[in-house]
């Protein structure tokens, strides 16, 4: 732990987008996340890896308070977004989620047209003054989602009619359309074939220009390919956090090494 903190100190504090301090999560009587401290930098892809049930998705969902929708879930500790505790009373979780967007494991386009899917967030938050501006936002989001060329001629076709990979990129475009500052991705490629996965990974790399991206993944190759920072979770503990290259080539903790080499997990 000490060694890890010393690594952290080299990162300038201005670049930290999210700082989690002493986060504990309980599901009823189960202690799902145990005392996690982590710094997520701006304009960086951070990957959370670890075996199933290790708490990485749970922790991800803490970052935009999606766990609030689960009755029995209880979160302790501090999560600072730009220095402000998101679990503070005066923070409106609804506003927070507009700033911290989320892409889910399974593509979940709404049963609406492609256009309406992307325009959903901007409409709710009143981001456009008129139709032309909304059109512009939708186009920009779809371009960022790297799907504009495929759907520009059928914006009013239902979003559910797209292929799996296209649906997931549509969901990314939908999340991007509300201009979030952080984008959380919960195993975004687990329901996709290798080609669609490659497209989404390429997209994640482009998104890094503008956003801080946090991605949960089961594929260590994916983590190695897309992320700059990697956090390894095991049994609710954050075991190791550091530069991706260092985690994969020279892990300090024996558990990390066992997982990466395939001995636990």
């Amino acid at each position: 732990m000490n060694q890890m903190t010393s690594v952290e100190k080299t990162v300038s504090t201005e670049a930290n987008k999210i700082t989690a301090e002493g986060v504990q999560v309980y599901y009823g009587d189960t202690h799902a996340i145990k005392d996690v401290n982590v710094q997520i930098e701006d304009k960086t892809v951070t990957a959370f890896i670890g075996p199933s049930g290790c708490g990485k998705s749970t922790f991800l969902r803490c970052l935009n308070r999606m766990n609030d929708t689960i009755d029995i879930c209880r979160v302790e500790g501090q999560i600072l977004l730009d220095g402000e505790n998101i679990y503070d009373r005066k923070v409106d979780p609804v506003q927070l989620r507009a700033k911290v967007g989320m892409v889910f494991q399974k593509p979940n386009p709404f049963p609406k047209s492609i256009y309406d899917n992307v325009a959903y967030g901007p409409r709710i938050h009143g981001l456009a003054r008129n139709k032309a501006e909304l059109d512009e936002i939708v186009e920009k989001a779809l371009r960022r989602g790297a799907i504009w060329n495929e759907v520009k001629d059928r914006l009013h076709a239902p979003g559910t009619g797209l292929s799996g990979g296209q649906q997931q990129r549509l969901c990314i475009a939908r999340a991007v359309a509300t201009e979030p500052e952080v984008l959380l991705m919960d195993e975004p490629c687990s329901a996709l074939d290798p080609i669609a996965t490659a497209q989404v990974e390429e997209l994640i790399d482009e998104l890094r220009q503008n956003y801080s991206v946090v991605i949960v993944t089961h594929s260590m190759q994916q983590a190695a390919r897309v992320s700059q920072k990697t956090a390894f979770f095991h049994l609710g503990n954050l075991v190791e956090f550091g530069e991706t290259g260092q985690i994969f080539t020279n892990p300090t903790d024996p558990r990390t090494e066992s997982y990466i080499t395939g001995r636990i997990g």
Partner: protein, 492 residues
Amino acid sequence: MPVSWLILILAALTLGGYIAGRARARASVQGDVRRLHSLPSYYGYNVALFALVPALAVLALWLLAQPMLIDARVSGMIPDTLIPEGSNQSLVMSDVRRVADGLELAVSSGAMSADEVAALDADATDIRARLGEMGVALGSDVRPEVLEAAQAYRAMSSTGTLWMTGVVLVLALAGLAWSYSRTHSEFRARNVVERGVLTLLILAASIAILTTVGIVLSMLFETINFFSLHDWKDFFLGATWAPNFRGDSELSILPLLWGTLYISLIALIVAVPIGLFAAIYLSEYASKPVRAFAKPLLEILAGIPTIVYGLFALLTVGPLLVDIFGRGEEGLLGLNWMSGATSVLTAGVVMGIMLIPFVSSLSDDIINSVPQSMRDGSLGLGATKSETVRQVVMPAALPGIVGAILLAASRAIGETMIVVMGAGAIAKFSLNPLESMTTITTRIVSQLTGDTDFASPETLVAFALGLTLFVLTLGLNILALYIVRKYREQYE
């Protein structure tokens, strides 16, 4: 031998067959049941099935066919001259049957011996009086031809019954013996029983379907009778419902249909928003304990018999509405718009209350079947709960909810008790919901209760009304099912 004895014997044979079959199966492997193809009880079931099913089937068919065959043969014996004016053959035949039954009773109760009955002579004995002593009332004196026919009827039915008993018993024993002889360790009794079960299930399903077809056909025939007595143009296109028994009734469905649809519309206006909002609360907002408590409570409403709703309409809602909209200066609003407790509004409101659990329970299921990922997606974009419900969950659930509403509408249209008690009996076209009106179902009730003559259009119109109602609700149900099914495909 009476049929009940026959059935008892069959039951005994079945039970015996079961025990014997099982025992033989065990014996064929010297008690080592592992060497049997099937469990021992399957061999028992197999023998029992073969003893019972063919015999029972023949018994049922025989009981249906015998009276028809005998009737056909005996009615040929009655000369046309015997049929009085204004009567017909079936009336004479029922006389024949009564005499035959009376004689049978006389023999079995010991009032007459069999020889005495056989030697009866219609001219010498007063058969009417003698049968009257035993409680068999006849409408007229027994004529020789009738007595002759009755004797023939009696003879034929007693030989028929004798044959039936014989055939059924032989069949049961043969089935038992054959299946018993097949019982050995290699025999696949389990598969045979499985096929038997399958046949039973198919039979049950086809009985349900055939009954529906039968109901529709019986309505259809009576409706055709009605239209041969009454002009169809008056029924479908007339403007007045005024049945009388002078023979010049105006029987138009339109005023009744108007009343039905108007009341159903009010019921839906009450039930749909309340039911839908209740469903949204229960499925999206309520915590688990509240839901576990409130949902069954709401569904209790669905278990209340409609006659109780009718009482509620008549005794509570009706007078309450009169207090509000009627009674002039004494009323709550000082209006005098409503005079009686029965009105379209009374029936509509109460029917709406009846439909609330129907709408809410169906909508709740449909809202719950919208995947959680849709909600997560919307909440993850920073939408509030009600925005999510309004813009994502509802549009996704809408086809199913429309289906639920159509099902509720078809229930409202077919509802009887509430409208009988709450809506009144005046058939008219009016837009005023405070007036009493009447519906198709209440008119069916009133046309078929009391003294009815099934040859007059005033009675037969009930069947035409019923069939129209059936077609209407069937159409709505099919539409609703089609919509619901189409929606279901989206998430699978």
